[in-house]
C-alpha cells in the first residue's frame, strides 16, 4: 500500500493482506541499500495467519519518495511516525543489518511501544570499512558489488537460490544500484549509540545471527546479545543476507519467538 508519512509518499508492503490496525502488528525494516523485497519469504506467512505486517521502503528507497534519512536515530523516529500514521500503538520490530540498528534504536526511544525486538545479522554497531565507504561515495556500482560479494555466503556465491531460477545476488545488485547506499552506509558508520540503546530495551528480544557473516561478524552480534537483557540467540549457517539466504530458517526462528509473545 501507499501512504503518506510526514507528507511523503511511502510504500509499505503488507504481505499480501490488507493492513488492519486491530491485529498485532509486525514491522520489518530492511538493510542498507535494500527494500521491502528482502522480506518476501517471511511477511506472507504472518500476514495470512492473524498478524498485520508492514515492510516499508525507507524514504528515498525503491518505491518510497523523499530524501533518504541520514542517521539511524532519524530512521528510528521515522518508524514510529509511520506507525502513528497507521494508528498503531505497539508493534514487534524486526530488522536486518542496518534495519536491526534502526529497530534497536526505535525500541530504546519508545520502549513502551515496542512489543518485541528481532535483530537479524547485526551488532551494536556496524562500522563500515573506510574503503567501502569511499567507494560507495565515488562509484556506487563498485560498492554494490563489494557489498554483495561480502554479503552473501558461500553457497550463494556458487549461484544457489532459494527461489528456483533466480540469481539473488543480481536481484540485490539491481535494487541497491538505484538506492542511496552511500547515505545508508554513512549512517551505519556514524551510529555509536547501540550499546546505550541496548541497555534501554525492555521488551523480549531475539538475535538471529549468521555464522558466515562478513559484514557484521558473529562476534559483534554475540556482544550485542550480552547488552540486551533476556535475549535469545540463534545461529544459522549462512551469510549476512539471512532473510534471503536462509528464508525458511529465518522464518522459523521468527515464528517460534513471535508466537510465544505474551
Amino acid at each position: 500500500m501507499r501512504i503518506k508519512v510526514k507528507g511523503r509518499d511511502t510504500y509499505v508492503a503488507t504481505g499480501g493482506k490488507p493492513f488492519d490496525a486491530k491485529l498485532p502488528t509486525l514491522v520489518f525494516i530492511h538493510g542498507s541499500g535494500l527494500d521491502h523485497r528482502t522480506w518476501a519469504l517471511q511477511t506472507r506467512w504472518f500476514a495470512f495467519r492473524g498478524w498485520s505486517v508492514i515492510a516499508p521502503d525507507l524514504p528515498g528507497h525503491s518505491l518510497s519518495k523523499g530524501k533518504p534519512l541520514t542517521s539511524i536515530e532519524a530512521m528510528a523516529d521515522w518508524i514510529w511516525q509511520l506507525l502513528d500514521e497507521l494508528k498503531v500503538k505497539q508493534a514487534s520490530l524486526i530488522g536486518h543489518s542496518q534495519g536491526a540498528l534502526v529497530a534497536l534504536e526505535a525500541a530504546s526511544r519508545q520502549p513502551a511501544r515496542a512489543r518485541s525486538l528481532s535483530a537479524i545479522a547485526t551488532g551494536a554497531a556496524i562500522p563500515v570499512n573506510p574503503q567501502l565507504l569511499e567507494t560507495a561515495q565515488n562509484n556506487r556500482p563498485a560498492a554494490v558489488e563489494a557489498m554483495l560479494t561480502w554479503g552473501f555466503g558461500n553457497a550463494y556465491q556458487f549461484g544457489k537460490s532459494h527461489v528456483p531460477g533466480q540469481a539473488p545476488i543480481a536481484v540485490g545488485s539491481r535494487i541497491m544500484a538505484s538506492n542511496p547506499l552511500e547515505t545508508d552506509l554513512q549512517a551505519c558508520q556514524n551510529y555509536t549509540n547501540g550499546e546505550a540503546a541496548a541497555a534501554l530495551v525492555t521488551c523480549p528480544s531475539q538475535l538471529i545471527l549468521a555464522t558466515q557473516d562478513k559484514m557484521t561478524p558473529l562476534r559483534s552480534g554475540l556482544a550485542l546479545a550480552e547488552k540486551i537483557t533476556a535475549s535469545e540467540i540463534t545461529k544459522i549457517d549462512a551469510g549476512h543476507m539471512l532473510p534471503i539466504e536462509a528464508p525458511d530458517q529465518c522464518l522459523a526462528e521468527l515464528r517460534q519467538f513471535i508466537t510465544r509473545l505474551p
Binding site: G16, D35, W45, A170, S173
Partner: protein, 483 residues
C-alpha cells in the same frame, strides 16, 4: 550487467547453481525425474501454494535439474533470473505473451528466424497482437515504428539466416528513450561470445537446442530476465507486471518482486497455463553441453573463419557471407560487439545455381544435410533443393534466398576434414556445371551466370558483400593458399 557470481563464465558454466547435494554427494547434477514433490505436511503444502515459502510443487513450474540450468544461464547472461522452456520457440512465445495482450504492438527486426517471423506475423495476429517489421540496419526506422501501444522491440543479435548483426547499444538507447524493453534472441551468439544485457538489452532469449546443447540431441529454450527495465515507471503501459493479479491474491509482480517481476510473472502464469516445461532429462543433456560451451565456441568460430576464407578463394564459389569477412555489411560492428567472433553460421553461393547446389549436397560425406544449426558436427542446408524446393527462383528471391545459397553451420571437427568434404562437394558442383556447359555451349552459360549474380545480390546486404567481394577475395587468396 550485474555480476551474479564472482566466478568467471567458464567456471559458472560448470559449478553455478549446484554443489554436491547432501544425501549422496552426486558430483554431476542429478536428473530429478519427477513430476511432483511431496509436501512435508499440510501446512507446508499450503505455504508453498501461497508463496509464503520457496520450493518445488510440480515440474510444470519448477524442477531442481531445470533450476540448475536456469541459474547458470541467468549467471552467464548477467540477468536476475531465468525461466527455461521446452524449446526456443516456446521461450519466444512466452516472452511475447507475457508482455503483450490483444491490442498491443511489437516492433521486430525484419531479418529473423522464419518460425519467429511466422509467430509474429500470423499466429500472434490471430490473438490481436500486431507486429511491424523493420530493417535491422535502419535504427531511425525502428525508432519511428515504436507506437504508444508498442510493448517490446525484438531482434536477433546475429540474424538467422542473413547474419545481420544488431547494433544492440543503439537499439537499447532507442528503447530506453521510448521506454520499451529490448528483447534479443541470442541463439547464434551464445553467452560465450556476446552478452546482450551488458550492452543494454533487457531480455535475452535462447534456443538451447543449438550451440548451448551442442550435441543436437535435445530441444530447449531459455528466457533471461535482465532486471534492468523499470516496469514501474509507466505502470499503465505494462499492466501484466503492475496491475493486481487475481489468481495470485491480487499481487502486483513489480511491487512484490521488483527487478525480477518479469521472470516471476512468466513462472506464475505462462509456465502454469501454457505449460511448455523443459523436461529434466533434456535439461541434463543441455547442461552437459553448457559445461563445455566456453571451449567449444572458440573452436566453432575459428573453423567458421577458416572455412569462410577457404570458400572465398575457391573457383566454384560465387560469394561468401560471414560477419568475419570485411565484405560483410555489418563487419565494423563485429570488432566492437563481437570481439570473440560472430558465430559459426555462414552461407555461400555455389556456381551453377540449383542443380550445382543439389550436386554439392549429395556429394558430402561428413557434413550432414539437415534443417538445424549449432550442432558440434558440421551441418549444411541447400534451401533450393529441400526446404524451398517447391518455389521457383523468383519466389525464392522474394524471400531473400537465392537458388545457389548453401548454409553451413560449421562444426568443431578438424578444419582439414571439413575442408576436404566441402571440396568434394564443390568438385561435384563443378562437374554439373561442366556438363551444362557442354550441353548448352559457352554463351548460354555466361547468361545464366549473370542471372545468378543478380539473384545473389538481391538482398541489400548481399549487394554490398558482392561489390566488396573482389578485394576480399584477393586478400583471402593469400591466406587460403596451400590449405
Amino acid at each position: 550487467m550485474s555480476k551474479a557470481s564472482f566466478f568467471d563464465p567458464a567456471t559458472i558454466a560448470l559449478h553455478s547453481g549446484y554443489q554436491p547435494e547432501s544425501d549422496h554427494g552426486s558430483r554431476a547434477v542429478p536428473i530429478y525425474q519427477t513430476s511432483s514433490y511431496a509436501f512435508q505436511d499440510v501446512a507446508h503444502g499450503a505455504a508453498l501454494f501461497n508463496v509464503e515459502r520457496g520450493g518445488h510443487i510440480y515440474s510444470r513450474m519448477t524442477n531442481p535439474t531445470v533450476q540448475v540450468l536456469e541459474q547458470r544461464m541467468a549467471a552467464l547472461e548477467g540477468g536476475v533470473g531465468c525461466v527455461c522452456t521446452a524449446s526456443g520457440m516456446s521461450s519466444l512465445m512466452t516472452t511475447f505473451a507475457t508482455l503483450c495482450s490483444a491490442g498491443d504492438h511489437i516492433v521486430s527486426a525484419a531479418q529473423i528466424y522464419g518460425s519467429t517471423a511466422t509467430l509474429l506475423k500470423s499466429t500472434l495476429k490471430r490473438f490481436g497482437i500486431e507486429t511491424t517489421f523493420v530493417d535491422i540496419n535502419d535504427s531511425a526506422a525502428i525508432s519511428r515504428a515504436v507506437k504508444k501501444n508498442t510493448k517490446l522491440v525484438f531482434c536477433e543479435s546475429i540474424g538467422n539466416p542473413g547474419l545481420d548483426i544488431a547494433d544492440i547499444p543503439s537499439l537499447a538507447a532507442i528503447c530506453r528513450k521510448k521506454h520499451v524493453p529490448l528483447v534479443v534472441d541470442a541463439t547464434f551468439a551464445t553467452p560465450a561470445l556476446h552478452n546482450p544485457i551488458a550492452h543494454g538489452a533487457h531480455i535475452v532469449v535462447h534456443s538451447l537446442t543449438k550451440w548451448i546443447g551442442g550435441g543436437g540431441n535435445a530441444l530447449g529454450g531459455a528466457i533471461i530476465d535482465g532486471g534492468n527495465f523499470d516496469w514501474g515507471l509507466k505502470p499503465e503501459k505494462f499492466p501484466t507486471l503492475n496491475e493486481p493479479y487475481a489468481p495470485f491474491h491480487g499481487i502486483s509482480f513489480f511491487e512484490e518482486f521488483g527487478p525480477a517481476a518479469l521472470s516471476m510473472r512468466i513462472r506464475a502464469e505462462s509456465m502454469r497455463d501454457f505449460g511448455a516445461a523443459l523436461s529434466p532429462q533434456n535439461a541434463f543433456l543441455l547442461l552437459q553441453g553448457l559445461e563445455s560451451l566456453a571451449l567449444r565456441m572458440p573452436k566453432h568460430v575459428e573453423n567458421a573463419g577458416e572455412v569462410a576464407q577457404w570458400l572465398l578463394a575457391h573457383d566454384a564459389v560465387a560469394w561468401v557471407n560471414h560477419p568475419s569477412l570485411p565484405s560483410h555489411a555489418n563487419h565494423d560492428l563485429v570488432a566492437s560487439l563481437f570481439p570473440k567472433g560472430a558465430g559459426s553460421i555462414l552461407s555461400f553461393g555455389v556456381k551453377g545455381g540449383r542443380d550445382a547446389g543439389a550436386a554439392f549436397m549429395d556429394a558430402l560425406q561428413l557434413a550432414t544435410n539437415l534443417a538445424n544449426v549449432g550442432d558440434s558436427r558440421t551441418l549444411v542446408l541447400h534451401p533450393a533443393s529441400t526446404t524451398h524446393s517447391r518455389l521457383d527462383a523468383k519466389a525464392m528471391k522474394a524471400g531473400g534466398i537465392s537458388e545457389d545459397l548453401i548454409r553451413v553451420s560449421v562444426g568443431i571437427e578438424s578444419f582439414r576434414d571439413i575442408k576436404n568434404d566441402l571440396a568434394n562437394g564443390l568438385r561435384a558442383a563443378q562437374r554439373t556445371q561442366k556438363n551444362a556447359d557442354q550441353k548448352d555451349g559457352r554463351k548460354t552459360q555466361q547468361k545464366t551466370e549473370q542471372t545468378r549474380k543478380q539473384t545473389a545480390t538481391a538482398k541489400p546486404v548481399k549487394k554490398k558483400a558482392a561489390t566488396k567481394k573482389a578485394t576480399a577475395r584477393k586478400t583471402a587468396g593469400k591466406t587460403a593458399a596451400g590449405k
